[in-house]
């Protein structure tokens, strides 16, 4: 598996790490000769009316520091045409199926689309084929968005994105496009059902959970207590199926932020009940958050001292047993709780670890005999 993605600066053009899980477009792009017809789109080299045109070689100018090397392999599946159209001479550059060259060509394509008054439906077929081939490229998705805008027609979009997501349900670009289409054209119907389908297939799909939040935020909102309760129960149900699921716990936490975890009726009971069958560091962490909320709001339903003790106990459990890789975080939470709600001596409260002179020793250092 290779890993050069389309990235720039410390900032990735394609931050989508899925790109490294699958074939990388740059290092491993197979120069297979594609079928001429792909989803109804016919490449220019295969069109009868273009058959008489001679390829025009690319001119990179004198002494380029970096020359584009059109290797033998490259020419097999690329065609460069010079086109005379009236007095306008336009160069239709490489119609390649590698997304990497799409980045170079996109400017030409867009200028041409505008200048030649091209059939945008054709362009839609083209970009559909390209995206299906290279779904992790920022530019191809942005190009599609432009075509949708120019056509002012989103009718194919949700189905198209669903198709791409069926191949990779977490494709970051696909989700952004979907969100844009829905917001721009007010296509909210059926989305919650779609999200639920995806969560049925993979309850750990973080993108789907994010989409759930997106849909509800932009439609009913969470302020209706019936909606909130529906969401809480739905999430708890998913948690029962797969308790070690960061996304579900984050979602639960997120939707209850405003109201407060500790005051939500029945929540503590339902979560502690889960503890017996569904042990997970996320559950324990959630309880810590809940107890912290009870302390912060000085809730009368909770004994403050007992709640603090429970919270500290759980932090210790996480730091020492259940989530040791994040022991520094749990020790910080513990110290913060002690300082804020404890009645004893203050402990170092900054997020920094306590100074070396404290009793806490790093795990790796051996203790003196």
């Amino acid at each position: 598996m290779s890993s050069v993605e389309e990235i720039s600066n410390p900032v990735a053009e394609n931050l989508e790490e899925d790109g490294v899980e699958e074939e990388n477009t740059v290092e491993e792009a197979e120069m297979e000769y594609e079928e001429p017809v792909k989803g109804g789109y016919i490449f220019y080299r295969d069109r009868k009316e273009w058959a008489d045109l001679e390829p025009v070689p690319q001119d990179d100018g004198p002494n380029p520091v970096v020359k584009i090397a059109y290797s033998e392999k490259c020419n097999k599946s690329s065609d460069c045409f010079g086109l005379q159209k009236g007095t306008k001479s336009v160069q239709v550059t490489c119609i390649l199926h590698e997304s990497v060259v799409f980045d170079v060509c996109r400017h030409y394509r867009r200028v041409l689309l505008q200048a030649l008054d091209k059939d945008l439906r054709e362009e839609m077929k083209y970009i559909t084929a390209i995206i299906e081939d290279q779904p992790k490229n920022y530019q191809v998705w942005h190009h599609r968005r432009m075509v949708v805008e120019w056509l002012n027609d989103p009718s194919e979009e949700l189905q198209f994105v669903a198709e791409i997501l069926s191949q990779d349900a977490k494709n970051y670009h696909a989700w952004q496009h979907r969100q844009w289409v829905m917001q721009e054209y007010k296509l909210w119907d059926g989305e919650l059902e779609y999200v639920e389908e995806l969560l049925e297939e993979d309850v750990r799909n973080n993108s789907a959970w994010n989409q759930r939040h997106f849909v509800i935020s932009h439609t009913s909102g969470y302020s209706d207590s019936a909606i909130l309760e529906r969401e809480v129960q739905y999430t708890l149900k998913q948690i029962k199926k797969a308790p070690h699921n960061e996304s579900a716990w984050n979602y639960l936490n997120g939707i209850l932020q405003d109201g407060g975890l500790s005051s939500y009726p029945g929540l503590l009971e339902q979560v502690t009940e889960l503890q017996d069958t569904c042990s997970s560091p996320y559950l324990t962490a959630f309880l810590v958050d809940l107890y912290e909320d009870a302390l912060e709001t000085n809730s009368s339903s909770y004994d403050q001292q007992e709640t603090l003790n429970k919270a500290l106990e759980l932090c210790k459990l996480l730091a020492e047993e259940k989530d040791t890789i994040r022991r520094e975080y749990w020790n910080y939470v513990s110290r913060s709780l002690q300082n804020t709600y404890g009645s004893g001596d203050p402990v170092a409260s900054s997020s920094d670890p306590p100074p070396p002179s404290s009793s806490q020793q790093p795990d790796t250092e051996p203790s003196d005999p």
């Binding site: 392999k73 997120g254 890789i325």
Partner: protein, 346 residues
């Protein structure tokens, strides 16, 4: 905890009875830092200009040069690179509009404009380009809602907000844009989990979080971040192997050793990561034969992951590597020379 791991299917391991998506580091994976090999790898990269991978990546060449030069500088090996050739190349890439392209004959874009300015900062040669025009180009890409387009075609992304302010900061021209609106837009991309996405409502993603925390650092607005909540989300990226992923339920990748780690450093919570485990993951991503780092152990190396592996190790405190600035991903001594000291939370 490795003894509790049993393989179920590819990259899905059972840990304490639940499925975890992660990699397993083999016992013979590299565990020492092979700096000389990495320097040799980068110095030789691109010397064969008709190499297939090299030519296909021309569309991002400016960033490729930035990655190579930065990692060489961090290793104290910048002198091995061809300064004059690179400076001439950059001059040829500035367009009339002021923007800079990835390579000669390509179209300008904010991403490559930043890379070019970073390279010229490394070389203390900012004035070989028309700085005023660069500023005009960046200003011109700001939208009414404060966001930035990447280029004239209008793609909006918080990455571009970062590119814009980082470029202007390096040029000393931060005051030329509408700062309030720029900040407003980035904050509108903050999600319920404390993270940031590319646009409002987009899923939180470590790369975007790096861009947004970097942005807020440069613009002096880090107090708007919920550091505990975001720090928690970020340290949750660490998997049993020690590596970091970019969002929940994804595989670890060495480049997240940069994006997650730098973000944590910026918000003052870098110690929430298990440093020893992360270090051993990063070292395992080296290729002992070719030099360089891959995204994860055993994969093919490239300059991008090489930079972020080395930069990550620098943030973790490796003394063989120069200190790296977590906001700009450039050597600290360069930023000191430029006079930039972006805020970090403590």
């Amino acid at each position: 905890s490795l003894s509790l791991l049993a393989e179920s299917d590819d990259n899905n391991f059972i840990l304490q009875g639940t499925q975890v998506k992660d990699v397993i580091i083999k016992p013979d994976a590299p565990n020492t830092l092979l700096l000389d090999k990495h320097a040799d790898y980068i110095a030789a990269y691109g010397s064969k200009k008709d190499d297939y991978e090299y030519t296909l990546s021309e569309y991002l060449r400016m960033s490729g040069i930035y990655w190579g030069l930065t990692v060489m500088d961090l290793m104290g090996q910048l002198s091995r690179m061809n300064r004059e050739e690179i400076i001439e190349f950059i001059k040829s890439c500035q367009h009339d509009c002021g923007g800079i392209s990835a390579s000669i004959g390509h179209d300008p874009h904010l991403l490559y404009t930043l890379s070019a300015v970073q390279i010229l900062s490394l070389y203390d040669s900012i004035n070989v380009i028309d700085v005023e025009k660069v500023v005009d180009y960046v200003k011109g890409l700001q939208q009414e809602d404060g966001s930035f387009a990447g280029d004239k075609w209008g793609e909006i992304d918080t990455r571009f907000s970062f590119c814009a302010v980082a470029t202007l900061a390096l040029l000393g021209k931060l005051d030329e844009i509408n700062m309030d609106k720029a900040v407003e837009f980035v904050l509108s991309c903050m999600n319920f989990d404390g993270g940031f996405g590319c646009r409002p409502d987009s899923e939180s993603h470590a790369g975007q979080i790096y861009c947004c925390t970097g942005f807020l650092s440069i613009t002096g607005q880090l107090h708007k971040v919920n550091a505990d909540l975001l720090g928690w989300w970020l340290c949750e990226r660490q998997l049993p192997s020690g590596g970091l992923n970019g969002r929940p339920e994804k595989l670890p990748d060495v480049c997240y050793s940069w994006w997650v780690l730098a973000s944590l450093k910026i918000i003052g919570r870098i110690h929430w990561i298990d440093k020893a485990k992360l270090r051993s993951f990063i070292l395992a991503c080296q290729d002992e034969e070719t030099g360089g780092f891959a995204d994860r152990p055993g994969d093919m190396v490239d300059p991008f992951h090489t930079l972020f592996g080395v930069a990550g190790l620098s943030l973790l405190g490796d003394e063989q590597i120069k200190p790296v600035n977590p906001v700009f991903c450039m050597p600290e001594d360069v930023l000191q020379r430029v006079g930039l000291q972006p805020d970090l939370l403590s």
